[in-house]
Symmetry: C2
Subunit: 352 residues, 2 copies
């Protein structure tokens, strides 16, 4: 079993360090860890946010534990050299097309949400976001027009692309509440028309799942008004970027939320994937012991579940996290005083 560890920038390294401590407590047989450079850290050392050797390491692994990328110092670099390219490049080079972002409140932490406690408590949804297509990876550029310089980006989805993410979403819905909301803008976009028609075609294979379609503007509205109505949500790369962040904000504690990005490749133990916290690199608080490592630890749990077939270990980690939250081991983001390391300590203690 090989895990590539890409800590990245800002608070990435410190939260990843705590996840690795938790991983150690499992004493997994035959586990090998590689550490690679990504983001601004990689740019400084190798002149590129996603160096070839990092990509090689990723390809050789069964799973990737990713911290975070991003640094104010890179704001003026051309886009191709900015830290975000590391995560975009990994997603496309490795064919990680399915981003799973569960958003559910932690009991007792509803007060952290800006939503009313009863509304926050009702949230228990999974956003399945397509990660390899859409306007993210289409042709793009600048050209001259009658109105001066013009920036353009090509948006598209084809049936094969939609089909595979739809299958992922329907299967996920089968393991949850059997309700799937497909979000698009089919009243305006041809990309969305193909999206919707293909999702409907795939739905025939999942008669038990109740499928509904929602325009993205209405979805953004409903996610605020009554987020409890959603079970599984499937959508394209751009709308998924927006709605999954919105859903995380509804929960209120983004320092606790993890995500998985899965590809098609099967390893000896499960599905190849990359796992990362929802939160960013937060360079303003880096190195101060203020970061919450829970999202990184829960990303590790997702990694064990999806890529290494170790459901038991994943569940143990999740129980340990629940236990320390019940004990109110809170960092500053949750209104407490525990440091990044204190929180790691507490989780490690619960693992024995």
């Amino acid at each position: 079993m090989k895990i590539a560890i890409f800590p990245g920038d800002g608070i990435g390294p410190e939260v990843t360090a705590q996840a690795l401590r938790v991983l150690e407590t499992l004493s997994l047989p035959g586990l090998t860890l590689f550490e690679g450079d990504v983001g601004a850290a990689a740019y400084r050392r190798h002149g590129h946010p996603l160096p070839e050797e990092t990509l090689e390491m990723a390809r050789a692994a069964d799973a990737i534990l990713f911290g975070a990328v991003g640094d104010f110092a890179c704001d003026d670099l051309p886009r191709a050299l900015r830290p975000e390219q590391a995560i975009l490049g990994l997603r496309s080079e490795l064919g990680l097309f399915a981003n799973l972002r569960p958003a559910a409140g932690f009991p007792g932490l509803e007060h952290l949400s800006s939503l009313k406690p009863e509304v926050a408590r009702s949230i228990d949804l999974l956003v399945v976001r397509e990660l390899n297509g859409d306007v993210y990876f289409g042709d793009k550029g600048e050209r001259m027009s009658a109105g001066g310089r013009e920036g353009w980006d090509a948006m598209s989805y084809n049936e094969a692309e939609v089909r595979r993410i739809a299958h992922t979403a329907f299967r996920a819905a089968m393991g949850r509440g059997k309700r799937l909301t497909s979000v698009d803008k089919a009243n305006v976009l041809e990309t969305s028309r193909i999206w919707r028609e293909t999702v409907i075609a795939v739905s025939g294979e999942y008669p038990e799942v109740e499928l509904e379609h929602m325009y993205v503007d209405n979805a953004a509205m409903q996610l605020v008004k009554s987020p409890g109505q959603f079970d599984t949500v499937v959508t394209g790369n751009l709308f998924g970027d927006i709605l999954s962040d919105q859903a995380s904000a509804c929960v209120g504690s983004i320092g606790l939320l993890a995500s998985a990005s899965l590809g098609e490749r099967q390893t000896d133990y499960g599905t190849f994937g990359l796992y990362e916290p929802i939160h960013g690199s937060a360079p303003d608080i880096a190195g101060q012991g203020k970061a919450n490592p829970v999202a990184a630890v829960l990303s590790l749990a997702m990694l064990l579940r999806h890529s290494l077939g170790r459901e038991e270990d994943a569940a143990r980690i999740e129980r340990a996290v629940e236990a320390i939250l019940a004990d109110r081991v809170f960092g500053g983001d949750l209104g407490g005083t525990a440091s990044t390391e204190d929180i790691g300590d507490a989780i490690v203690r619960k693992m024995v």
Copy 2:
């Protein structure tokens, strides 16, 4: 002074009727009203959701009061014939490039929001959405690809398009809190790169306005977490569609929210524009007297202010609406029992 009245579908006609009663109380000298067909109603009568004669009427007017369009019965029509094309067609044919959507809570109605009352109360923002460009009006179509049928849409913005909406937004910010948040996805999109560079260039002319840039995913998050941080928000057509609906949902009472869509053309009295409630046609409750006409009445107030230069009358209408809300004249959407007509009656009584 000529106002074109386009009541449209569903609850559109009944809420527009109440706005017209309020307009009558003003006894404006030299006012002419025309009524035209749009949406499903127009499709049934003329075979098109935006008939040529409606467009002619719009062109001849100083302002348009629009109800709502949309009807379940049209779901299976080809997109070009669906009711939404009426509003999309009016926006592009008439050059209505600036959509102004104020979102602010009404004192005493914070409980309607799913946000905590103190968070809901903090909302007082204006979304300035570009309406004539972006992926809405670019080339689009279907083609064959290696992955089967592929839907595609071209997204773009040029400097001239961004410049004019930026000026609208900076001017609006000058009349408000002098803070402007420009929302884009410049870490991924070339369209957004031109957007951001152009907004920065225009900002030089408004040294008093504090400008910040925010990625759309972060904006969707911040709009839930702390919507009170926003004063004026400017963004493209697609992101504006999503974020303005999200902001309306944060306020909690979309039956109360109005919008203006302005063009470049100056009339004898102000700026040519179209005014409509935020809410849709709600065909499920049409004709039952359940619709809240306040958004339509407040759209009329915006029309008087922006297109007819009648600030006094606009303010009078807004005060009348505040007064009936203070009197708790509430329809079902606000937890009361007043009918559409009862609410219209109450507003009319406050106008004398």
